[in-house]
Amino acid sequence: MLKRTALYSAHQKLGAKLIDFGGWEMPVQYTSITDEHLAVRQAAGIFDISHMGEVTVSGAGAEAFLNSVLTNDLRKLGSGQGQYTLMCNPAGGVIDDLYAYKLSVGVYFLIINASRIEPDVAWLKSQAAKFSGELHLTDASHNYAAIAIQGPRVKEFINLVIPGASRSVFQVNAVTDLKKNQIAGFNFENYSVFVSRTGYTGEDGFEIVGGDESIRHLWDKFLSVGQPFGLKPAGLGARDTLRTEVCYPLYGHELDEQTTPIEAGVGSFVAFDKGDFNGRSVLAQQKANGVKKKCVAFKMAEKSAPPRPHYPIWANDVRVGEVVSGTQSPSLNLGIGMGYVPPELAKPDTKIEIEIRGRRFAAVVVPKPIYKNV
């Protein structure tokens, strides 16, 4: 039996196509992936992200504990700030990529991938059992639903939906006063919700986490208030094409337990100067001596079917790797993707080929992101 989010009946009412995503029955599209994608690039889109997991970590030892299991440096965060970070095993393989927010001194909030809630929580608990400081770790995933509102016009109407100043330790006068990666608590009607200026689309936007009922009310209110601004409900199909264009990794594609952040090209979120943490020695060795595979972005260089995950990558008549994400880019109207290749083939402008149904088609390695909104 697939799990359903608080917004399941809202998706049904909108006529969404629903699919199994990591055990959740989620909307892949409402009308068209292309239309929903372009709405987010040009105006605004609203996504159900309730399937994602939430973990709270608090106590005097919380910062030291999290800094020992995550790659980025939490000491850089003030109250109300968040950061992208990764959780590695001792071999440097990625258990999950996540956002870590500092709500106040000693109180942290982690947003983790839906498909990784169980392994993440099991791993965090096993690590916490070996930690000696004061620590409270709770899987709060069942307590929260969540939505993402993304696109260049969101800032024009989000204050109309959630008016007023924040009510959290971190003070801002309005939702739109949040800067990138900041988070604060706000009152919406009689509910308390967290709002962060983050997203997974490459556009300006916000993510909102709250109880089921608050998120149901917010969803409806956003759809009515945002409609004159071009807001559309957007599904996981558009979420995937949007994040692929800007080269954000997706767990299970660019990232897995056999792949390190250095190989995946997210080494800038690994802080080597913060002391020891899981995977540090392997990652430091890779950073110094290089890696055997690198995640590159590419564009198709001739007319072809869209590249897809698991298609072979060739160079100079040798099979050199595999596509991990691939799609037709709705913004660029051509085939794009990411894949792993040996480091000598990772430079932009390197000519590669993508094998599609037994035939090879010309492609070229390009800098990340593949698409940049100007």
Partner: protein
């Protein structure tokens, strides 16, 4: 609500067939294009290729997935629609007219009788 023209025969796998003498035109149904949405690529068989009924002989790709297209009947491909190769969105906008895929010279005309009538196809898709 899907458009199901009454002059066509239908395959369970959502292709349509328009018979004219000993040849037939093949495309995908309005229901199929609506399910796929956003068709971005069409790959057609080579002219002269002989196919069997039920054989995968074309591919249609939406943003999200690639889907095989199965020939409803056996025969030899006599023409393909280069317009849908150049402009795959034609399959979305005109699935049972300008968005046709290929023409086939029937090698076993009796196969046509085994295909679904418009009424039966309508029942199959719950329309």
């Amino acid at each position: 609500m899907s458009n199901i023209p009454s002059d066509l025969k239908y395959a369970k796998s959502h292709e349509w067939l328009r018979v004219s003498g000993d040849t037939a035109t093949v495309g995908i149904t309005d229901h199929a294009q609506a399910e796929l949405t956003d068709i971005v690529f069409v790959e057609l068989p080579a002219v002269g290729r002989k196919v069997k009924a039920g054989e995968a002989c074309a591919v249609v790709e939406s943003v999200k997935t690639a889907s095989d297209i199965y020939s409803p009947v056996s025969g030899e491909i006599t023409a393909v629609n280069s317009a849908v190769v150049d402009n795959p969105a034609l399959v979305n906008t005109a699935p049972d007219s300008d968005g046709w895929f290929y023409k086939i010279k029937l090698s076993n005309a009796a196969e046509v009788n085994a295909l679904l009538s418009p009424e039966d196809y309508k029942k199959q898709i719950g329309g």
